[in-house]
Amino acid sequence: MDINEVREEVKKELISQRSRNEDSTIPFLCQKLGIGNEFDVITAIGDLEITGEIVLTGFKTVYREDGGAIHLAKYSGNTNQ
């Protein structure tokens, strides 16, 4: 998929999640949409945030092998749109 297609797929997925009151991390979006390169999804997220179509909704916390936290950004469609 080229960057425009990835952007459309990410936007569609996050807007549909908004209607279900859900949000996604980038690794989850990669898997759900079958997009192999996470940087393509990151790029799409960056563009859609600037246009206001999606928003950062918070962080999901997981823990690494030394017990240290990792915070994964979560995104969803913008409810103000």
């Binding site: 996470e38 017990g67 915070h71 950004a73």
Partner: protein, 370 residues
């Protein structure tokens, strides 16, 4: 404080289980390993080195074609004396620690090329990159990206002992599954730690800030980006809404630069935030007086500690030389200003703190309202 002996959330792998799982994995895939014909196994730091050497020994003992000096040799990263180094920026928004990055970019290519030259018939190298316990796999991906640029490398495969199930891309084969009822996984050579995190002033904060750089109209942006691409990975450029977008990949964060007339707009996109190790406290502690970057920590510059502000702190400080290079590119520095990207959860202390960071980092900075 939780008694580590009763830590029910951490799976503690034993030496026995580690050894037998690695051996079972290889013996179950003998044909595949024979076909892969690995010349070199590359492992990161102590855990990767242990796994690489274990795999090498098992391959040499069980597959005839590996029973030769030039097959399944091991190269650890970084090279030299193996020790546990202290690095507050380890796997934050850098692809690797400074020490590892220097080894990869300065020494690894020559070492691999010298190895390739002593092989009979000048066969290209088949490489296996391993790490013990993966989450985001940032440094593995960085290394593989580097290795793909080498003309004497034929194939690169990745293998990890285990990977956290939250991270599934790219798919990297693992020797064992992550236990379903556990939160984290400890290798036999690690003491089990309790869960640790930053101590936040405010739990949720989704503030995002955009940095505006207004240059003079005669700025040579082509030269600027050419200079930047010498040191930083400018992955892609494309057009979006009438502007040219540059995508900068640096480890776990991505920077996005939008070029519009004489403006550059610098955006960061949050993905994975690994807090600085020295700032981590056992869950339940209240002391949050940590400043991993000293006077240049964003929390030292007037903002509350939140996940959003700590992320910004790591992005700015780990990309500091990149940002400074842009601003000091031309004798005529740009005018710097900021805005909130989203108006919902605005932390009003963040923009002033970021402005302070810029003023400390760049003498004589020109900012809006000067």
């Amino acid at each position: 404080m939780q008694n580590p002996e009763k830590n029910t959330e951490c799976y503690e792998e034993s030496w026995d289980s580690f050894g037998s799982n690695v051996k079972k994995h290889i013996l179950g895939k003998l044909e595949e390993f024979e076909k892969n014909d690995f010349d070199l196994i590359i492992g990161f730091t102590r855990g990767g080195a242990i796994l690489a050497l274990t795999i090498s020994c098992i391959l040499k003992d069980n597959i005839k074609t590996y029973d030769t000096p030039l097959k399944a040799s091991v190269r650890t990263i970084p090279k030299g004396i193996v020790c546990k180094r202290y690095d507050p920026c380890f796997i934050m928004n850098q692809p690797t620690s400074d020490h590892e990055k220097k080894d990869i970019t300065k020494y690894l290519k020559d070492d691999l090329e010298n190895f390739y030259k002593i092989k009979p018939n000048k066969e290209l190298l088949n490489l296996l990159v391993v790490d013990d316990n993966l989450s985001g796999a940032t440094r593995m991906k960085y290394l593989v990206r580097f290795l793909k640029t080498l003309l004497f490398v034929k194939s690169i495969k990745m293998l990890a002992y285990v990977r956290h199930p939250e991270f599934i891309d790219p798919p990297i084969p693992t020797i064992r599954e992550f236990p379903s009822n556990k939160t984290y996984f400890s290798m036999p050579w690690h003491k089990t730690h309790e869960k640790r995190d930053l101590v936040f002033d405010v739990d949720e904060d989704t503030t995002k800030v955009r940095i505006h750089l207004k240059f003079s109209k005669d700025i040579d942006f082509d030269k600027l980006f050419q200079d930047l691409s010498d040191d930083y990975y400018i992955k892609k450029t494309y057009l979006f809404k009438g502007a040219k977008i540059y995508r900068i990949e640096n480890g776990a964060s991505e920077l996005r630069i939008e070029k519009r007339n004489e403006f550059l707009y610098l955006d960061y996109i949050l993905h994975m935030f690994y807090p600085p190790k020295e700032c981590l406290k056992v869950l339940g502690e209240s002391n949050n007086n940590c400043k991993a970057f000293g006077d240049k920590s964003i929390c030292a510059l007037g903002t509350k500690k939140t996940k959003a502000t700590c992320s910004v702190c790591s992005i700015l400080n780990c990309n500091s030389s990149f940002i400074i290079k842009i601003i000091n590119f031309d004798n005529n520095q740009p005018i710097v200003s900021f805005n909130n990207v989203d108006s919902r959860n605005t932390n009003e202390t963040l923009i002033p703190a970021i402005k302070n960071w810029f003023e400390i980092s760049i003498p004589n900075l020109k900012s809006e309202n000067d």
